[in-house]
């Protein structure tokens, strides 16, 4: 009897386990031309808290437009979003329509989990800005793997009172990298090292904006260890040594450096039009002294962040999922979303709307108009194949150079070597 009981226990164990793992071998159809019907799930990235009515209205309108459809909306917190997607993807429970960024799309597309829209939804391509549509192409693969959704970029904010205290002209913020580095050194010198100008170590976007070639043209190897890359890191080392770069920059996150700017410990910080409201609410004194200037770039092209909406290639409701992903990202709905929050539509012609071109004298509008203008030739400098592990490798190498443990050349060589190895391991 115990032997039988043991066998039963093993079977009982094996049954649920056999359900684990495989998940989605049954691939969905790539044909999106059928009838739009059925239940689908739509996942957003930390949007429910602030935009619940907008999304509920959007879903209700879609269900009304396509009777027989039902959209279940799930929202995931910002923290650990990639981990949540990877768990769903590995477990075969990825929602039908998913809010993604280009670097999240790349591994999903390589694993065959993102629908190629050039095949399934090519008719919509002309509705979007060409650069935005191309942002979800994956080097080494044919096709485009997500609808472009909202774009974002932003100016550089600076604290006018800190500039004045250091004897700098607050009405003339730095416009070039040389000016930025000079002002930063002066500010650190005048404040006896108590006020840093920047709070973050250079990221891959910073290297891109400085004019460094990030990857080779084929997208098979990284190249940010060129002379320009070394030059930028050497400048940052000077700033770090002079305390013009915050001493905690080596462990900083965008959130922690934002807080430093709010408390006046740091004189400059990148941001978006959304931040003005935060300054007004959380740091009224800073808001009174806030200066706004353009992103500093050597390429003439500012950095932009792109959000996308991906369709799960294994969805059982391809027509409904494609129709909904397009609906969320179409010109009308993107425009309506942009008017609720400081983001910018990726649809063709939307940025010519008076909302993005007509001044009304407020700072918010000024920032919005400047950002919309700069987006027309902006670049998403983060290579889509640049994974989280690669970002860590770069940050750690940069930190070693700033601490003086290795030279800037050696640090970037090491980072490129490590990133290339990870790239090859990704397959």
């Amino acid at each position: 009897m115990p032997r039988r009981a043991l066998a039963a226990a093993v079977v009982a164990l094996a049954l649920p386990l056999s359900a684990c793992g495989s998940g989605g071998d049954e691939g969905g159809s790539t044909d999106a031309s059928g009838k739009v019907e059925g239940d689908i799930t739509f996942q957003t990235w930390n949007l429910r808290a602030n935009f619940k009515p907008y999304f509920e209205g959007l879903i209700a309108d879609f269900e009304k437009k396509y009777p027989g459809t039902k959209v279940k909306w799930v929202d995931q917190p910002a923290e650990g979003y990639a981990d949540k997607i990877s768990a769903d993807a590995a477990g075969g429970t990825l929602p039908d329509v998913v809010n993604v960024s280009p670097d999240l799309v790349a591994p999903l597309a390589k694993a065959g989990l993102a629908l190629d829209l050039d095949k399934s939804a090519a008719k919509y391509k002309k509705e979007y800005l060409p650069g935005a549509w191309a942002s979800h192409e994956i080097p080494g693969m044919e096709g485009t793997y997500a609808f472009p959704w909202y774009l974002n970029t932003g100016p550089l904010f600076y604290n006018k009172s800190l500039f004045k205290e250091a004897g700098l002209d607050a009405s003339k913020p730095p416009k070039t990298y040389d000016e930025l580095f000079d002002d930063a050194l002066e500010l650190a010198d005048k404040s006896d090292g108590k006020v840093a100008t920047l709070a973050n170590v250079p990221t891959i976007e910073d290297f891109g904006r400085y004019g460094v070639e990030l990857m080779n043209k084929e997208g098979t190897a990284f190249a940010f260890n060129d002379a320009k890359g070394v030059e930028l890191l050497t400048k940052y080392k000077e700033l770090y040594d002079a305390k013009a770069l915050d001493s905690q920059a080596l462990t900083a996150t965008p959130e922690s450096s934002g807080k430093k700017f709010l408390t006046g410990a740091v004189a400059m910080n990148p941001g978006s039009a959304l931040d003005l409201g935060n300054f007004k609410k959380q740091a009224p004194n800073l808001y009174k002294n806030i200066g706004i200037t353009d992103q500093i770039t050597s390429t003439g092209k500012v950095n932009m962040y792109v959000m996308g909406v991906m369709v799960n290639a294994q969805t059982k409701r391809t027509p409904a999922a494609v129709a909904f992903a397009h609906y969320v990202t179409d010109a009308q709905n993107q425009m309506s979303f942009a008017k609720k929050v400081a983001i910018f539509p990726s649809t063709a012609g939307s940025l010519d709307d008076p909302y993005f071109t007509k001044e009304d004298g407020t700072d918010e509008t000024r920032v919005r108009i400047a950002a919309a203008k700069s987006l027309k030739n902006a670049v998403n400098y983060t290579p889509v194949l640049f994974s989280e592990q690669m970002k860590t490798e770069l940050r750690n190498s940069v930190a070693k150079a700033l601490q003086g443990k290795v030279s800037p050349e050696e640090a970037l060589d090491n980072a490129v070597k490590a990133c290339d190895r990870l790239l090859q391991q990704q397959g």
Partner: protein, 313 residues
Amino acid sequence: MASSSSTASSGTAAPRAASSGAVRVRRQLPTSPWLFAAPGLLVVGIFILYPFVSTLVNAFTDRRTLIPGEFVGLANFRELLHDEMFWIGLRNSTLYVLGVVPALVLLPLLLALLVQKNIPGIAFFRSAFYTPVVASIVVVGLIWVWLLDERGLVNSLLETIGVGRIGFLSDQWLLLLSAMAVTVWKGLGYYMIIYLAALANVPRELHEAASVDGAGAIRRFLTVTVPAVRSTMVLVGALSSVAAFKVFSEVYLMAGPDGGPAGEDTTLVMLVQRTGTGLTGRVGYASAISVVVFVVTVALMLLVLRADRKEDA
């Protein structure tokens, strides 16, 4: 048992078995424990054994988050030997054990001796010392980050008294020490409760006899209290060393996801998390690191228990 099973299954024996209450009881005894244990076995099987075996298997593959991978033999372990970050993780996890365990074996014992006495208001102190144990580690971590920040309370106080600001969260070693201090601070109350239970069993006569012989407080502590709670100290040592070697939250919260400046404060479990998660996670390689963590923690336990047995002998 096998015979009773075969008897039960034979057609002729069944009526005989049914007619005898004693036989029926004997037949049912072996089955019912399994039935009672089945839910527990299922949970253990699915949530402990399966992940454990899966980790062991994955350690010998090049599996990635979305790609099943193939058998690569000992390649992951060979790569570990040449991975600088692995050695940094091993160093930090080991230092954590060396820094935290002695403090967590000794300090809670002293604290337990202090709050053991039944004096008015002592319950308040017992509760106060236990409060960090029940506090969320995330909240604890954030509070200590605010306190130890370059512009935090501790640095402001240090500056006021003329010491100057100290980079608790920007210096590699100070950061690790700060994280250790938080681990000790949070663990004190937990181990204090264990010691309180042990101290309650120390016969008062022993202390009285030692006092009569002229032993002072320190001598009584060394000759009476310590030998009496020695097995509890071993238990605390074993528990805290395993927990210290597997440290994650404190260092992650204070040093950030990269593991401090240039990743120099990374611990092995942080490395597992960083390497094996996300859409491009190297599950096979992270599993190999997990296997190393498992082997070292088992070795630590055996080491402590062996030392205890030697003492007994």
